[in-house]
Amino acid sequence: MERSQPCVALRDVSLFYRGDDGREVHALEGVSLSIAQGEFVAIAGPSGCGKTTILKLVAGLMPATRGQVLIDGAPVRGPQKNVGMAFQNPTLLPWRSALENVLLPLEVVAPHRHHFRSRQREYEARAQELLQLVGLDGFANKPPYQLSGGMQQRVSLCRALIHEPEILLLDEPFAALDAFTREELWGVLQSLWLARRCTVILVTHDLREAVFLANTVYVMSKRPGRLVHMTHIDLPRPRTLEQMFHTQFTDYVHEIYNRIGEVRV
């Protein structure tokens, strides 16, 4: 593979912000990383270490105090349009059906918003296809409150992907789900990624989740957050839940676990 320009790059990024109590918070210190086009990266670390902050910087929702955030070589200034986001909380709009929730980005993001009316059927078909891919065919017209937590999270993933973003930012999307649903959704996310091959940054505190899904796992220190370790996960795709019991898999988890143990003391 030729070495092309990274899709996302952080160059020596530091971030200070004023917290709710008025005190200055030193969230990130000297973070540098570079993510290739189509790479799946997981960032793991103790809670409050600034993992979410990295996502906000990449999305352009907040500016870095020092250093540079680059997407496709261009510095990020202000909210990005080619990213999709999903959070721990599915944040669906309760007055819209599952399908209408998935369509929301197309009503907002350019250039789709300008043809939303004329191409509505086509867009709906695209949303239906995505819902099918995550196993929600037949639920398109249900309102969110009639869906389980896992189903809502699937809809949220579809919403993050409908406008075919180049970069998908996931902030602990499965943290609030029960263990069985969570592992099921790992499989769903993996097949979505294999189908779309977008660049993914997943923030998580679940190490098995990180190893199962990512090509590269970064470990962050506690605040101020620094990247202290990087592991390439060299496991064949598609990965199966069965593989989680193989020593190759558990060795990765164990190694990362030890690294996190080091930064927590």
């Binding site: 909210p79 990005q80 990213v83 986001m85 944040t91 309760p94 007055w95 907002v108 919403r159 406008h163």
Partner: protein, 252 residues
Amino acid sequence: MKPNTLLRRAFPPAAAIALFFLAWELGCLAFNVDEFILPRPSVAIAAYFQWQEAIWPNALQTLFTTLVGLGLAIAAGTLIGALIGYSALLYDALYPLLVAFNSIPKAALVPVFVIWFGVGTLPAVLIAFLISFFPIAVNVATGIATVEPELRDVLRSLGASKLDLFAKVGFPRALPYFFASLKVAVTLAFVGSVVAELGASNRGIGNMMVIASSRFDVPLVFAGLIVVALMGIALYAAFAILERRVVAWAYR
């Protein structure tokens, strides 16, 4: 709705109203209350039928001033509510002023408005507007200010403008709050216009009640009160039905 369920839903309030009138009627009879102090409902209703040709134009006048005042309150309340809901700065800046205005007894403003605008429809419209504006503004502001930050991030990361955010999230999310406030505001608006008509109008139910009481025609005063109450219920019900249709998602 099936006729059967409609009947079942309508029965309890109808029965409660009937019981209320019955207790009033029997209480007046039992304690031999003078008609001049508190007329029995049957007498008040008889007065209504005796005077209905005079009552209706006045009732419509009151309904008109109430609706115009309420309409202004909806427009201004939604606008101010959206502004202070979106901007923490405007919220901090304007809230004390809004509370101060709302604390002023609206009846005390009637003579002021008479000096400014003379006797007529305008003071009644303005009082109805002022009294019903506050709950609408506060509720719309609450609905908009409590939009989940993640949802805001989702839309902002799509390049949504403030207007998009309002149209796609803020406004629909504020609608249940808006309708809740509307049900309070509509009854308050009636209070406002009738209070203003008592002293500052030559038309309307309030004015009719002043004339009736100056002739010691207490049954007609009570007939007027009942008409105002009925119009209040009718408008409240209209908004409640509209609410069920528009924000059905909030009731599950």
